[in-house]
């Protein structure tokens, strides 16, 4: 059954169309990965799905309901939860309070504070610590836990790997299959292609706001992904620099190759 259906969606950032006539769909229980270089429109897509950005044209249907005009807080009630880029925890609240706020519009379901703390075992000891004092990886885990507390049907994860050490990223990604097992549909957005390819059922590659490639990870060759990721003109240079994973981790090369915006600037595609 199709849970999410995006039809010819265009989202503007000021004058600039960041997403151009994009269509995609996600089946219930699927783990869908949207990859693309910095500035490809990935975060804008999630912002539009979560209701914090208004699309110019196109429709978003969730569980066969048109949610295009629904404000963010009502989408949470409908079952869409976003883990935003940069985590955006509530810094003056404790870890536990952050999780409890996530249950503000709790839907019935398996996730509660105990289950989230089982998923990330270290949380019990630090429950009363102020969230602004946690490390980046810990904050990312709390942000995921906070979104799960509402028992979403669709979990949107924006750049989980951003600014984190590879081993921390791997641990966070290890939690995704367990989230998927609970019946939640997951949509991850990533610059780190190797992580996304490892866990996803289906991969969509964005280039300048358009979907240029999609398929299951096994059906796509590394060369195809690189071409789509960087655009045609620079594909040759990208191939030279090694396999997909290492290229993707190198944010600077990715940025100036595809879109002209350089580096891992977290504000770049907010």
């Amino acid at each position: 059954m199709t849970l999410l259906e995006v039809d010819t969606l265009t989202v503007h950032h000021g004058q600039l169309p960041a997403i151009r006539e994009l269509s995609l769909s996600a089946a219930e229980g699927q783990l869908l990965a949207v990859i693309g270089a910095n500035g490809a429109g990935k975060s804008t897509l999630l912002g539009a799905l979560a209701g914090i950005l208004r699309p110019s044209t196109g429709t978003i249907r969730f569980d066969e309901l048109d949610v295009t005009a629904l404000p963010a807080h009502k989408r949470v009630a409908a079952g869409i939860a976003l883990v935003p880029e940069g985590r955006r925890l509530f810094g003056s609240l404790t870890l536990e309070e952050n999780l409890k706020v996530g249950a503000y519009r709790r839907r019935p379901g398996p996730w509660d504070i105990d289950r989230v703390m089982d998923l990330f075992g270290w949380m019990r000891e630090r429950a009363r610590q102020r969230s602004s004092l946690l490390s980046g990886g810990e904050q990312q885990a709390v942000a995921i836990g906070r979104a799960l507390m509402g028992n979403p049907r669709l979990l949107l994860l924006d750049e989980v790997s951003l600014g984190l050490a590879p081993i921390v990223v791997r641990r966070l990604y290890e939690a995704l299959p367990r989230i998927q097992e609970s019946g939640t549909t997951v949509l991850v957005v990533e610059q780190d292609v190797s992580q996304a390819m490892r866990v996803a059922d289906e991969v969509i590659c964005l280039l300048e706001g358009r979907a240029v490639l999609s398929g299951t990870p096994v059906s796509l060759t590394a060369e195809q992904v690189e071409r789509a990721y960087f655009g045609r003109g620079v594909a040759a240079r990208a191939v030279e620099s090694g396999n997909v994973g290492s290229v993707a981790l190198d944010g600077g090369a990715v940025g100036d190759g595809a879109t002209g915006t350089a580096g891992l600037d977290p504000a770049g595609e907010a």
């Binding site: 979560a50 209701g51 914090i52 404000p71 963010a72 807080h73 949470v76 009630a77 939860a81 976003l82 935003p84 955006r88 925890l89 509530f90 810094g91 003056s92 609240l93 309070e97 952050n98 409890k100 706020v101 996530g102 249950a103 503000y104 519009r105 102020r130 602004s132 906070r146 979104a147 509402g150």
Partner: protein, 289 residues
Amino acid sequence: MLWVNAIVQGILLGGLYALFACGLSVVFGVMRVVNLAHGDLAVLAAFLAFSLTGPLPGHLLLAAVVVIPLLAAVGYALHRALLHRSLRVGPLSTLLATFGLSIVLQNLLLETYSADTHTLPAGVLTAGSIRVNDQISISTLALLTFGLAVVVLVGIQLFLSRTQLGRMMRASADDATAASIVGGNVRHIYAIAMGIAFGTIALAGVLSAMRSSFNPNTGPTMLIFAFEAVVIGGLGSLWGTLLGGMVLGLAQTLCAQIDPALTLLGGHVIFLAVLAFRPQGLIPARSTA
């Protein structure tokens, strides 16, 4: 013993200032808005209570029961209709909007009630007192005011820390966009905070009017006292507001003990000293950084 009396009276007076200030503190803490109409709203509450007690003398409690929820509702509606819109434009526009509201209120009150000075007849409350010894006796009204101030401040603190809505209110203060993606309707939540603030202003306004006289131009003075209590205690911290109110009250009564002409000056000097030497206030709010 005269000094002990001044200290006791100062602390009790501080309760009233803290009650005045907690609405300002909540609004600033949650949405970073300074409500310049704060004092005028207290005067409005006093006049509303005056109008209600006119036909029903002695039913001050009844007046408070009507005026407090009424002003809370006005606060909620005002935020949804006007202030939230100006909040989106920027902090300066909310200052201007509340400043305009202050002028409108003052002139409406002047038009309706004239510039005459009024008092709220509180009957036995005004005159009643508890005699501690020959030099010290505590006014029932002052004690009641102090007790209510503590109850209100503790109540708001518990609401913010223990309830789901209170936690969401603090979350919205940290990051409004993030609050909306975890399901918070920020406009509604801010409006509730404004409603709570207006309710406390109404209570403070009625209690203050029982204690001393008021006219349509009293508002700005009340705003200054409330503002000073908030700044002395620490912006956005409710315990700080209670302490700030008491420090302000103490400064005023102790200076009055030296020379009654120094009463107001004493409070202002303490306020300036805190601004100069401890600008974060005595009990700073937990930072989000």
